[in-house]
Amino acid sequence: MTTSSQSTVTIRVLLFARYAEALGDNALALTVSSPATLASVIKLLRSQPGGEILPERPLCAVNLVQARLDSPVEAGDEIAVLPPLAGG
């Protein structure tokens, strides 16, 4: 459960593999200005300790679907930042 003030929103971000390792956790809660976009979340994430490992434009998903960085995000969305894929 997250609450949003009039001008900010708290976004929960899932991290994986190398990114989770660098940022020290596989999920972080970030408070960003509202309305928020993926880009504003990524920008804040990159300023966290260890966040410099993230590229400017990482692969992201919102609610299990790949999303562009200008996508709006809201509290309750499932935001995921994905390192380069290596399945198969």
């Binding site: 899932l14 994986f16 593999a17 190398r18 390792e21 993230l54 590229p55 400017e56 434009r57 990482p58 692969l59 998903a61 299990l64 679907v65 790949q66 499932e78 995921a80 994905l82 390192p83 380069p84 894929l85 290596a86 399945g87 198969g88």
Partner: protein, 164 residues
């Protein structure tokens, strides 16, 4: 049904699951853990996944292959710790004719590599551990920002790329 599996994969089970009296051609692919990577000796491998999205993406890929080639398709991907030689991914595609079976099978493995959120960490003989980055071929072209990759479905005009 789950596409991600914590237990060893069983290709025979997949083949049986797609076989039918009207589909006389079954093409399969199995990827196994290699003992080396970029000159380093690998002793074991660990696959992790963004599970809910990986399941959804596998389901989409299988549905695309089924409808494009009128094939039945089965796919499984291992997660967890794998020893050398163990299967990391297994695919079976059955169709009335072999061209479609091969094309559907090849499509699925290429799309799995391109779109499914799975990562692997290699354990090397020298005691070090490393996250495996995709090969050069799968990185964005030079000049494009690193990590600015797309994992959307291929557009329909590129379907011919999968003809086998």
């Amino acid at each position: 049904m789950s596409f991600l599996r914590d237990e060893p994969l069983d290709l025979s089970r997949l083949v049986v699951s797609v076989s039918a009296p009207e589909r006389g051609a079954v093409a399969c692919f199995v990827g196994t853990v290699r003992d080396h990577h970029e000159g380093k000796s690998v002793i074991r491998l660990e696959y992790s996944a963004y599970r809910p999205m990986a399941e959804v993406e596998c389901d989409r890929i299988v549905a695309e292959a089924r409808s494009r080639w009128d094939a039945d398709v089965a796919l499984e991907h291992r997660t967890g710790v794998l020893e050398i030689g163990e299967a990391s991914v297994a695919i079976a595609a059955a169709a009335p004719h072999r061209g479609a079976a091969f094309a559907a099978c090849r499509y699925v493995i290429e799309e799995v590599k391109r779109r499914v959120p799975i990562w692997k960490r290699e354990h090397y003989a020298d005691g070090t551990i490393g996250w495996v980055e995709p090969s050069q071929a799968r990185r964005p072209p030079v000049g494009q920002a690193a990590g600015d990759a797309s994992l959307g479905p291929v557009d329909s005009t590129s379907q011919d790329d999968w003809a086998v």
